[in-house]
Amino acid sequence: MRRRAFVFLASGCILLLGFLVGISITFATAGTFFAGVDYTAQSNAVSGYIPFANPSTPSSIGTLGFSAEWVMANSGTGNYVQVGWLKYPSDTSGPQYFFEYHGGCGSYCRFRYGTINSSDHNYKVQVVTSGTFLNWCGFIDNVQENCGSSSTIGFSTAPKATWSGETTNTDAILGGTSASPVRIYTLTRLNTNGTWTQVNTNSLGNITTPGTNYHATSGWDTTSYVKNWTEIICC
């Protein structure tokens, strides 16, 4: 009788052990994953400070895979211009600065400018007039790197400003920690009246205390995305 009870109990324990192991197993998932915030308001520039990071981008994510953190002027309907850092699996020296826009050059262009050094950098996209033309330009530490015509990008004033991290596979990580996967601070945008405004990532409302740092840790607003970026599968 006692032997049967032992066998029964042992079977239950083993079943439970198998169950727990089964739950804990995770597999790499390909897709597009984001963590960040956006702000819906007409803007002529979007800016933010992104700390240096050299996240893991293993070869298992494929040559198309990457990890990136960026600031963006966004049409809200598919067109955009962005600047930040981006790392492919082949970037053994670390991530590179990049500038990318959608519109013109077929569908999109991406330019990368070399490995970033290990400090925080300011990234900005801004409308710039050049002669009789209007361009969206990318700036790194207030140095203009490259521009795309606003006529091909599709907007001269951005309806939405976005600050985000992005990966193409759950095997790739972002630059922050598990609690704060993306750390972008001093999120600012330029109003159409020419005033720079800092954005509060908690309420996504304007604030009037310049110099305060906000960390984009909570993911997208409740209408779009949840906090835990590793569980998001979209696109």
Partner: protein
């Protein structure tokens, strides 16, 4: 306990463990599915978006807030169908379309040792880019590359990256058939470029830039 029953019990335990493992995986998968279903998902294929029908030269608006004329266009994920390697003229034309200029040069016209050779340029790219081995075509062009936006900005006293603000002698090595996926915001179509271009300084072989596009 009989000796013959011990192996049977061991096998039974392994079997029970596997059942537990399977139940755990089912539980985990169903939770992920529920999470995904609860999320508002981005359109998976085509979507209607508002874009522009751009004029060739966009005049300055009277107010920065003036919206551009809009029309409805359809955006969907694009894969550049062109695996063919560009000739110098094609490269020149395509760069002009994004406000860069490229003036091809004759490598044989440079004094000896004043610039790196084609083979040296390819060796540098081969060393830095594992994608080199995946390319189904490799071409390289030497010439003077200028970013016209930066060129104009520097003349007006703005702070710009000087690298291409004036004509820079470069090798542009094009790896055809090497794919790259666009970044972009959630919900946007993630397009695929089929060409990787690496720009290196033709005088000393320094890496300067790489770019992808769908042209």
């Amino acid at each position: 306990m009989k000796r013959t029953t011990i192996p049977i019990i061991m096998v039974a335990f392994v079997f029970i463990f596997l059942i537990g493992l399977l139940l755990g995986r089912i539980n985990s998968t169903s939770r992920s599915t529920v999470n995904a279903q609860q999320l508002p998902r981005a359109p998976e294929t085509a979507q209607l978006i508002q874009g522009t029908q751009p004029p060739t030269d966009l005049p300055l608006p009277t107010s920065a807030a003036t919206p551009l004329p809009t029309t409805i266009v359809k955006l969907q994920p694009t894969v550049d169908p062109r695996p063919a390697s560009p000739d110098a003229k094609q490269l020149q034309q395509d760069l002009v379309s994004i406000n860069w200029s490229f003036e091809p040069a004759d490598a044989s016209s440079f004094p000896p040792n004043s610039s790196i050779t084609l083979q040296q340029a390819l060796d540098i790219v081969k060393k830095q880019y594992p994608q080199f081995g995946q390319a189904n075509g490799v071409v390289a062009h030497i010439g003077w590359l200028t970013n016209k936006s930066n060129s104009q900005a520097i003349q007006s006293g703005q702070s710009v990256d000087p690298t291409f603000a004036t004509a820079h002698l470069v090798w542009i090595v094009t790896l055809s058939g090497v794919q790259s996926q666009s970044a972009g915001p959630p919900g946007s179509p993630h397009d695929t470029s089929n060409e990787l271009n690496i720009v290196i300084d033709a005088k000393d072989g320094t890496y300067l830039m790489d770019f992808v596009w769908t042209r």
